[in-house]
């Protein structure tokens, strides 16, 4: 059972030497209790204390890292079932399946895509990072693994049933932490031995949670920490059930044998590429750590990466933006001025459209307690005699003294009144109602 911070503190050296990175042993104890630190960080714990604490200090879902550098994928360390309780820790690693029967041209173009593909969304760079290499022939497996490492620097999953083949492919790349896939009831001892020898993570796979837990317990008994689970779910319903029961086992039951992140293969569930993306979405929403696709068509990868970001973003992220003037596309004194409310979704939508238009503009975001334009208008917050003083105080007149401002199309009716309230030669223009029409509007405006 989990120990409290105080119980853990009693087992520490109490010298406050700071080598663990914490100011005091007590602080370190609290971190351990919260599952936020690893006991290994303190070089002075006694072996007895270690044995006692080992169980308590590990996070309910173990941390596993595959790959190195920019392409490294870290998964696990999750502590909850629902994202509103606490932010989900690590976005799943998305990747592509490369098989032994593909010709070199196909392999290289997938690797090139894996290397190049990235999307920018709300200030984050999202990208796939994993190459899952599957080849029955051991030499081909090793060759493709080396190629994926060399050309894309990918985080690798090596797929073969034969421990010797896995060893041959993984050995030259062991510093890159490839994931060996998979140890099953039939080959567990051999695969685990290779993982231990090379010090790389490995996956365990079974067709029921009970058998999976037996293998997980074996791994724990041998002190393996970096293990990934594949419950080999047959249907989408089984994916939901297995992923949910595994996560519950880890966080509600502190059942260590299933306290590891998971891997899923939507690429094997259907031949319909769009259906595959929909299945992959289920893995992403429901706790999977690594998700393997059959190719990297950007029209399918992009929504899946966005979904990962959405599900793993901090639920405490406020729905409001700070009031102020936001420059977009490097505006100058002649650039158009737009005003809208500080509801974060309004802001994201409008700013992404302005950005897409490539027209430089000033976006004035007014604090209306995070309401959308229509709601704020109806509540008397986004109205002429509130907007005018905000604009005057915002400092926009120094940045762009042209005295022309565009209001959202939904509040067209306030334009006259706002002109009066602003006075001083201000001109109010009525913009579009839907953010999607902003680029057209701005481009037209910049032509005039």
């Amino acid at each position: 059972m989990a120990l409290s911070g105080l119980q853990i503190f009693k087992l520490l050296p109490k010298t406050n030497c700071k080598e663990c990175g914490q100011a005091t042993c007590m602080a370190f104890a609290m971190q351990l209790a919260a599952g936020k630190a690893e006991l290994d960080k303190c070089p002075y714990v006694s072996d007895e204390a270690k044995a006692e604490l080992g169980e308590a200090s590990a996070p309910p879902v173990r941390k596993v890292t595959i790959g190195t550098g920019d392409m490294a994928v870290t998964i696990g360390e999750e502590t909850v079932l629902y994202r509103h309780e606490k932010r989900f820790e690590h976005m799943p690693g998305l990747g592509v399946l490369i098989t032994g029967d593909m010709d070199d041209g196909e392999v290289d173009s997938l690797l090139e895509q894996l290397k190049q593909q990235e999307f920018n969304y709300v200030g984050q760079t999202l990208r796939p990072r994993v190459a899952a290499i599957k080849a029955d022939d051991g030499a081909r497996l090793a060759e493709l693994a080396a190629r994926a490492d060399e050309k894309a620097g990918a985080a690798l999953v090596l797929i073969n049933e034969d421990a010797a083949a896995l060893k041959a492919a993984a050995e030259p790349l062991k510093g890159k932490k490839p994931l060996l896939y998979a140890a099953t009831g039939a080959n567990y001892d051999d695969v685990a031995a290779v993982a231990g020898e090379l010090d790389v993570p490995f996956a365990i796979k079974a067709d029921s949670l009970e058998k999976l837990a037996e293998l997980g317990q074996k791994a724990i008994d041998a002190d393996f920490k970096e293990v990934v689970l594949d419950p080999s779910s047959a249907t989408l319903g089984d994916v939901l059930m297995d992923q949910t029961l595994i996560r519950r086992a880890a966080v509600k039951q502190t059942f260590r044998a299933l306290g590891f992140p998971t891997i899923g293969f939507p690429c094997d569930m259907t031949d319909d590429k769009m259906q595959e993306a929909v299945f992959a979405a289920t893995f992403i929403a429901k706790y999977a750590g690594i998700v393997i696709l059959s190719d990297l068509d950007p029209a399918r990868v992009m929504p899946l990466l966005y979904l990962s970001q959405n599900i793993y973003t901090d639920p405490q992220r406020p729905m409001q933006m700070d009031q102020g003037v936001y420059p977009i596309n490097d505006p100058n004194k002649d650039s158009p001025i737009l005003v809208t409310t500080n509801f974060s979704l309004t802001y994201f939508t409008v700013s992404s459209e302005v950005e897409a238009s490539k027209v430089p503009a000033w976006l004035c975001i007014m604090d209306v307690e995070g309401q959308s334009v229509l709601t704020a208008w109806a509540a008397g917050k986004f109205v002429a005699d509130a907007i005018a003083p905000f604009i005057k105080k915002s400092g926009i007149e120094e940045k762009a003294p042209h005295k022309k401002i565009t209001i959202p199309g939904y509040v067209a009716q306030i334009s006259g009144e706002l002109e009066e309230e602003l006075g001083d030669g201000w001109e109010v223009q009525v913009g579009v109602r839907e953010a999607a029409d902003i680029p057209k509007y701005l481009r037209q405006m910049s032509k005039n």
Binding site: T235, G237, M241, V278, A299, Y306, A436
Partner: protein
């Protein structure tokens, strides 16, 4: 130590609401698709959109599907039922928008009458979110179609008395709309029930955010709704959930911008369809009961996902 899965025992269940002549939504006694520990008697219903005026600004991918029927809501509705095999239709009354065409309540009621006359499947009727006008129109529709079991929405805290009274008088379900907030959602349910609207005639619209545009807020609000309804047994939260997602996903930049403009984004049609289908699938997992959808291919993808989610090998659990 052998593994015993942790099964959740729910105190409450979601109310079953009758829609149309034979439709049923809700009724779950467990979390979405947790069929290994509870019942989900009705699969989530997909209501395909019909608009009462043409939508020239839609992206090509959806415009071409509805090309010949855009100016005729009756033909559009029949296409959804007969050709696209929709479970239900959601009639989006865009024409009543006071800032747009501003059609009258009588005109809107006439359209609803014509549409319901040709359909056997359930019809949901949705206004534009302008509280006063919606109240006018929805009230008129309730009066004009006394015998049709059509859910009417959106009803919010400012027009719930007017619409609620009409809905009660004519036994219509209402769709209670609140803006991404669990407590406000509960409060509006309480207000409607206090007014006298039967508890099994209330459906909840928690506000739907598209993928990339607030989906996660809506996802967590729905999860919290379901935790309150099922685990805590809060009977003011045990209403089926309605997600009006298509208008949101199809206005997202990522569903519209062409591959020529954004060469790294890939095919725009695939992207638009998946934006809708992935948003819908995520909502399936957080507890939706009605998905309002637009593209037939996206509908097909989500139907297959629903069938897939219903297929579970329960025998692998030693249940007790």
């Amino acid at each position: 130590m052998s593994f015993q899965p942790h099964l959740e025992k729910c105190k409450g269940s979601i109310r079953e609401v009758a829609v149309g002549a034979e439709g049923r939504i809700g009724g779950e006694s467990t979390f979405p698709f947790h069929l290994w520990e509870g019942e989900m008697p009705n699969a989530p219903m997909i209501a395909m959109e019909v608009y009462d005026e043409p939508q020239p600004d839609w992206p090509e991918a959806v415009r071409k599907v509805y090309e010949g029927v855009m100016d005729d809501p009756v033909a559009w509705a029949k296409k959804c039922q007969d050709e696209l095999k929709a479970d239900a239709v959601c009639l989006q009354l865009r024409s009543i928008d006071p800032n747009g065409t501003d059609a009258s309540a009588d005109e809107a009621a006439e359209t609803v009458k014509k549409v319901t006359a040709v359909l056997d499947i359930p019809v949901f009727v949705y206004g534009t979110g302008s509280a006063d006008k919606d109240a006018d129109v929805l009230k008129k529709i309730a009066e004009a179609l006394p015998d049709e079991n059509i859910p009417l929405g959106p009803v919010d805290d400012s027009n719930h008395r007017l619409v609620g009274a009409a809905a009660m008088g004519y036994k219509k379900p209402v769709i209670a709309f609140t803006s991404m907030d669990v407590n406000l959602a509960k409060q509006l349910n309480v207000l409607l029930v206090q007014l006298g609207v039967p508890e099994d005639k209330v459906i909840v619209d928690p506000t739907t955010g598209a993928l990339g545009y607030g989906l996660e807020y809506c996802y967590s609000i729905m999860e919290r709704d379901r935790l309150a309804a099922l685990l805590q047994g809060d009977d003011k939260m045990q209403m089926p959930i309605f997600n009006n997602l298509a208008p949101e996903t199809w206005k997202a930049k990522e569903s519209r911008v062409s591959e020529e403009e954004e060469p790294t984004y890939g095919d725009v049609e695939t992207r638009g369809i998946l934006w809708e289908a992935i948003t819908a699938t995520t909502l399936l997992l957080s507890g939706t009961d009605v998905l309002v959808m637009r593209h037939p291919r996206a509908v097909e993808l989500v139907r297959t996902a629903i069938e897939g989610l219903q297929a579970q090998s329960k025998e692998q659990l030693n249940n007790e």
